[in-house]
């Protein structure tokens, strides 16, 4: 199957119960499913944006004992408002610790102290390799220069597993071949000639506006395991740039609960900083 450019649409999730219908935005959906996936996880490395919000929601729901580590070295932050970035100084007052960057990168990430690392990317391939470096075929003169690795390479190599959050599921982001492999999947790392094999499993969950893909073994491909209400599996396949496997046990995701929505909207992000 060839990836075809299509008009993008996202899940239209509405919950309807005694209180009447309530529509849910794509951001809310992604955040809620990211939070649910954190059940039973303990130490989470949260990139900025939705992951920060997802971890907070998980703390209030499925994983009260979760501990968040930020790339700026802050652990156990309890900011009075949502941080505007991972280096927002609002994270510091009242935090449990601020580690020097050497400790964060060498001892925490490379030191394999993270259970789940959250990442975003411009492109992902079927084994979960990520590109956040550039778009184009000429590395020295790319069509579009992106931010680059930051700490993504270290998160991918060191965290026990990685959750990928993608706001838009499209054939331009879910691609057969990355323009640049920034953060390699275990499969990609295996085929390399030299260096230390990654400690973790790579990307185990991809949460998008259409559904959730999962994988676990090094050479396993991402498989569509659940779709959001109102989404058709064929549409997900069509909007994926490789021949996406669909689980035989494909499920439909449980709609957000009233309580999850209330927490997100009223307590965690009332100004909708991340829920844009």
């Amino acid at each position: 199957m060839t990836a075809t450019a299509r008009t993008e649409s996202t899940a239209e999730v509405t919950i309807a119960d005694a209180e009447g219908p309530e529509s849910v935005t794509s951001s809310e959906l992604l955040t809620i499913h990211s939070a649910r996936a954190l059940a039973a996880r303990r130490v989470v490395f949260a990139g900025h944006g939705l992951p920060t919000l997802a971890v907070s929601l998980a703390q209030h729901t499925v994983a009260p004992e979760i501990e968040i580590v930020y790339e700026s070295g802050v652990t156990g932050a309890r900011p009075p408002a949502l941080p505007r970035s991972i280096s927002d100084s609002i994270l510091v007052p009242g935090a449990a610790s601020v580690m020097p960057m050497t400790h964060l990168f060498a001892y925490v990430l490379q030191g394999q102290r993270i259970d789940v690392g959250f990442l975003g990317a411009a492109q992902v391939d079927r084994y979960g390799s990520l590109n956040s470096t550039l778009i184009g075929s000429d590395w020295d003169h790319p069509d579009s220069r992106l931010p680059g690795s930051g700490g993504a390479i270290e998160v991918m190599a060191g965290a026990a597993e990685v959750f990928l959050v993608m706001r838009r599921h499209t054939p331009r982001t879910f691609v057969e071949t990355l323009d640049f492999v920034t953060s390699p999947s275990p499969h990609q790392a295996k085929s390399a000639e030299a260096g230390t094999p990654p400690a973790g499993a790579g990307v185990t969950h991809v949460i998008t506006d259409l559904g959730v893909m999962t994988r676990s073994e090094p050479d396993e491909e991402l498989t569509l395991t659940s779709i959001h209400p109102g989404v058709d599996a064929a549409e997900v396949v069509a909007r994926t740039g490789w021949d996406l496997k669909v689980s035989e046990a494909l499920t439909t995701t449980e709609p957000p609960s009233r309580e999850e929505l209330r927490l997100l909207r009223e307590e965690l992000d009332p100004s909708r900083i991340y829920l844009r």
């Binding site: 991972i86 390479i153 085929s191 030299a194």
Partner: protein, 305 residues
Amino acid sequence: MVDKTASLSEAVSTHLNDGDTVALEGFGHLVPVAAAHEIIRQRFSGLTLARMSCDVIVDQLLGAGCLQGLISSFVANSSAGSLYELRRRVEHCDPEPLWFDEYSHGGMVARYQAGAAKLPFQPIASYRGSDLAKKNPRIRTVDDPYGGPSIHVVPALNPDLTIVHAQRADSQGNVQAWGMLGIQTEAAFAGRRLVVTVEEIVDEDIVRSDPNRTIIPAHIVDSVVPVPRGSHPHAVQGYYDRDDEFSRAWSTLAREASAVSAWLEENIHGTADHEEFLSRIGLDRFDRLSIRDTFSTPVNYGGRV
């Protein structure tokens, strides 16, 4: 006791030379912005900038023609958007090519650690299978003499000059900082020369009441420079908040190269120093950035009876 205080203009003109590699570190907090502006003001050229996480000052140094090279691991304007001057250089060699020596954050941290420790290289476990290792010939491998798989290494980074910003120092150059500390200590030790800008010079008794708070000892400091609000638009914990409006406005402005030139002409070349620069961009903005006080609980250092 050596008094190492200097003016910013003196410190930069004394310790920087055209063609140098200069590290300006600070991870979204405690960034030597005023020092970067002074480098522009003094019209240095041919510099290679080392900076893990880029921001407005990288675009400004590029727009001012100060840089021929960049050593970095993140080239966006944090959460505020793109750095368009940088993208013009990288995507279109406009106005000229930029030598870009690229790593991950972990790689940059390791390079500074090796530089500080005067080791030729530092091993790093995360590069297997990344195109970054393929693209950058300075990322290499060594065999493990203990029988494990080979491991990647990155070379030591020893800037000719390192400049960092901190909350305070005494006049001898014992530097104290708190909040997010980035890679400042390692960058400081890695530098062949070291200039530290601070929000304030304090009495040495304050520094010495809490020696564990010192992140850089005086004996490696060449000049210490009082520059209040020297990190704007980045925050300084306990002094002022970040100015996101400024950073976002930059990503809009810098879409046009001519706007960058005009901004630099007016705000940097058109001002004598950081104080005048601050008046130019409007001191009232600091009202919005003021913070409330939250003091640490003192600890007891004791003393022999």
